[in-house]
């Protein structure tokens, strides 16, 4: 045995060290901070639709960093570190895409991973993406792929359509009321400026080429237009707002922009109308199904009214007290293409979100308002419970969305 002693000694030391290290690592206390939903008012279940990704970054001095990425879904935190390596490499940092790739893996093959390119209803999952979204070497020639998955039969139908009316088109939203499809795209105009185009398409009557029904810039006459994109994308109405340049500095640089108007587009009649404005306070516009809710933002309260698109009448519904004077009213810059994204109207509930800070620490706030009573049925925040010797921990929530078909 003597001649093997060196061999077996080295082998034993290697095995013991590697196994010991692996065991020690598994036994060692987890360094990741724990994240929890803290309820201040109402029931936490009200937030079960909430879906977001978050990251906790703790540090005690320069370079001693701890990073934990997590996904919040079904009312629970799911930590990225708990995934297997194969799940990690397939993980999308857009939460809804994870559910789609999990539930409709075959349909998702060969399709882009941008949330904007998908619309889901109880019966269908619709994909609308440009060729260049999946073939990164291809010049954007305005060729659109429309794929529709029938969830019940698992049958997929695909169509190719050429979009006219602008170049470098990219799909921002697709609203589905089968077989009617309303596409909202951003495109470059003939003068190379950004523009919104709205297309109407009948999924049961395929066409090779479609022209825009509305060219927003021409219709609204504003250089800056923003869309309030609903999460469900099945509503009848789409809301836009226009911005006008405000003050300029000595170099003609625009210092601020002011809202010049709110507009709603009816996907059925293909009409665009201006929403009545309020004398005092800002305006917020939310839409769902056949409903257009117009809010008069008075900071601590929002007075909600229902606007009738047909006869322009505004009927007050009630007043909701907001937990902070800014919750849901996320600051939007003129270069953002969406607005109102901190407020969402889903299934008769208004969901409000705000990135709050307490003692230099990020604390995302959430509020859910019931539209029947205008009472707050939930308010709370995401908190970090850390077991680290951290002087600070930063929490960032991103890709916040409401997965209305989750339950």
């Amino acid at each position: 045995m003597t001649k093997y002693s060196k061999l077996f000694s080295i082998l034993t030391i290697c095995l013991l060290t590697l196994v010991g290290f692996t065991f020690y690592q598994a036994q060692a206390e987890s360094v990741r901070p724990k994240v929890e939903l803290v309820t201040e008012e109402g029931q936490a279940e009200e937030l079960d639709l909430l879906y977001f990704l978050g990251n906790v970054h703790g540090y005690d001095s320069y370079r001693n960093n701890y990073n934990t990425t997590f996904e919040y879904r079904n009312g629970e935190m799911h930590y990225f570190d708990d995934l297997s390596i194969l799940q990690k490499v397939d993980f999308n940092f857009t939460p809804r895409m994870n559910r789609y790739t999990e539930d409709y893996r075959s349909f998702m093959r060969g399709k882009s991973r941008q949330t904007d390119h998908y619309t889901e209803t109880d019966e269908y999952l619709l994909y609308t993406g440009m060729h260049s979204d999946v073939n990164w070497r291809q010049f954007n020639d305005n060729s659109l792929t429309i794929s529709l998955l029938d969830k019940e039969t698992n049958e997929e139908t695909a169509q190719e359509v050429h979009l006219t009316g602008g170049s470098y088109q990219s799909v921002i939203a697709a609203y589905l009321d089968y077989p009617s499809l309303t596409l909202v795209t951003q495109a470059l105009d003939e003068d190379s400026t950004n523009n919104w185009l709205i297309y109407s398409y009948d999924l049961e009557n395929p066409q090779d080429e479609i022209a825009p029904v509305i060219n927003s810039k021409h219709t609204l006459g504003s250089p800056t237009i923003q869309l309030s994109d609903s999460q469900s994308k099945t509503g009848r109405y789409l809301s836009f707002r226009t911005l006008e340049p405000g003050e300029t500095d000595e170099y003609d640089y625009v210092l601020n922009h002011t809202t010049s108007g709110y507009y709603v587009y009816d996907t059925v009649t293909e009409e665009l109308k201006e929403v009545p404005s309020f004398e005092e306070g800002e305006t917020v516009v939310l839409t769902e199904a056949e409903t257009i809710l117009v809010g008069n933002d008075l900071e601590d309260d929002i007075v909600w009214s229902e606007w009738n698109f047909e006869d322009d009448s505004l009927t007050e519904q009630g007043t909701a007290s907001m937990v902070t004077p800014t919750i849901g009213r996320v600051q939007v810059h003129y270069y953002d293409y969406t607005f109102n994204q901190g407020l969402q109207l889903i299934n008769g509930r208004i969901y409000a979100f705000e990135e709050d800070y307490v003692e230099d620490m990020s604390r995302p706030l959430f509020q859910v308002i019931d539209l029947d009573s205008f009472d707050t049925v939930f308010s709370g925040y995401i908190g970090v419970e850390t077991n680290l010797d951290t002087s600070q921990a930063e929490l960032v929530v991103y890709e916040y969305s409401l997965d209305y078909l989750l339950n």
Binding site: K3, L7, I13, C14, D60, N64, Q87, W136
Partner: protein
């Protein structure tokens, strides 16, 4: 003990004896270099802190605000740690070639005696492969042991109030280099070692081709190596072939790559066996 296993063990023990000096040098170099890092880096930090406090008439707290606390991560994120790892990797790459050529290039044609041994010739092959991996794992073990000893040294040198509360394991997990060479993330560790193993198996095949067919063997080796590389890279080209970036999920690309590498390894071992038993000349 079965006779064939005994002959493999004999040959492995023999190869290990021949490797041991080289291995001990690398282990010594790793310990020495790491020790320098564990002592010099915190000493330099302490000297900077003291200098700041004396020149700026600052308190310890003010100096900490300027320089931050010293953590074990600072001591292991240095060239004194990365250097021996790089030397170890390149050393074993060199040794993977040397382990074959020294049989022919030595004072006596030792290859003649080895190939005439009444044992399967593939035992020669596997003993060389095992011993290289044993050497690699010895260096990995050395690095792990060194890090835990190093933590004790660093924490003894740096005053408690200046030392950040980051333990050895946390510091190791934070260093991107260690993700691949230490089983911090077992799948990365297995992946890197698996790719390394296939590389050495292919390298052995190329050496045996050259030993079997001389100049013609060099060209055969180049073609074989290029083909193996091209096939390995194939999964990365699938999205270009189909002109669709999302045609495969990343997990599928990894599984295809694993399958291809396994296939390359098996093919290379079979080719090596053919060369070693039928073609090789002394």
């Amino acid at each position: 003990m079965k006779k064939s296993l005994k002959s493999l063990l004999n040959l492995t023990a023999f190869e290990l004896d021949r490797l041991s000096k080289f291995l001990y040098v690398l282990i010594g170099l790793t310990f020495l270099s790491n020790l320098i890092s564990y002592i010099v880096t915190p000493m330099r930090y302490i000297s900077r802190m003291n200098e700041y406090m004396s020149t700026q008439s600052a308190s310890s707290q003010q100096a900490l605000e300027y320089y931050n606390r010293f953590s074990f991560y600072n001591a292991i994120d240095t060239v004194w740690i990365a250097g021996p790892i790089a030397i170890g990797i390149s050393g074993f790459l060199f040794y993977a070639v040397f382990i074959w050529y020294r049989e022919w290039m030595g004072k006596n044609t030792f290859a003649y005696r080895l190939l005439m041994l009444p044992v399967p010739r593939m035992h020669l092959y596997f003993s060389k492969l095992i011993v290289i991996y044993l050497g690699i794992f010895s260096l990995i073990t050395t690095q792990i042991v060194s890090l835990f000893i190093g933590f004790q040294i660093v924490s003894a040198i740096v005053p408690g109030e200046w030392f950040a509360n980051v333990n050895a394991l946390q510091a190791i997990q934070m260093n991107p280099l260690f993700i691949y060479i230490i089983p911090v993330e077992p799948m990365y560790f297995l992946g890197v070692n698996g790719i390394g193993l296939v590389f050495i198996i292919v390298l052995f095949t190329l050496i045996l081709m050259e030993r079997s067919y001389s100049i013609k063997g060099i060209f055969m080796g180049i073609v074989y190596g290029a083909a193996a590389l091209a096939i390995s890279l194939f999964p990365m080209l699938i999205s270009d072939i189909f002109q669709n970036q999302y045609i495969l999920y990343d997990s599928e690309i990894i599984l295809i790559l694993t399958f291809i590498l396994t296939l390359i390894a098996i093919t290379s071992i079979l080719v090596s066996r053919h060369l070693l038993t039928k073609k090789i000349t002394i």
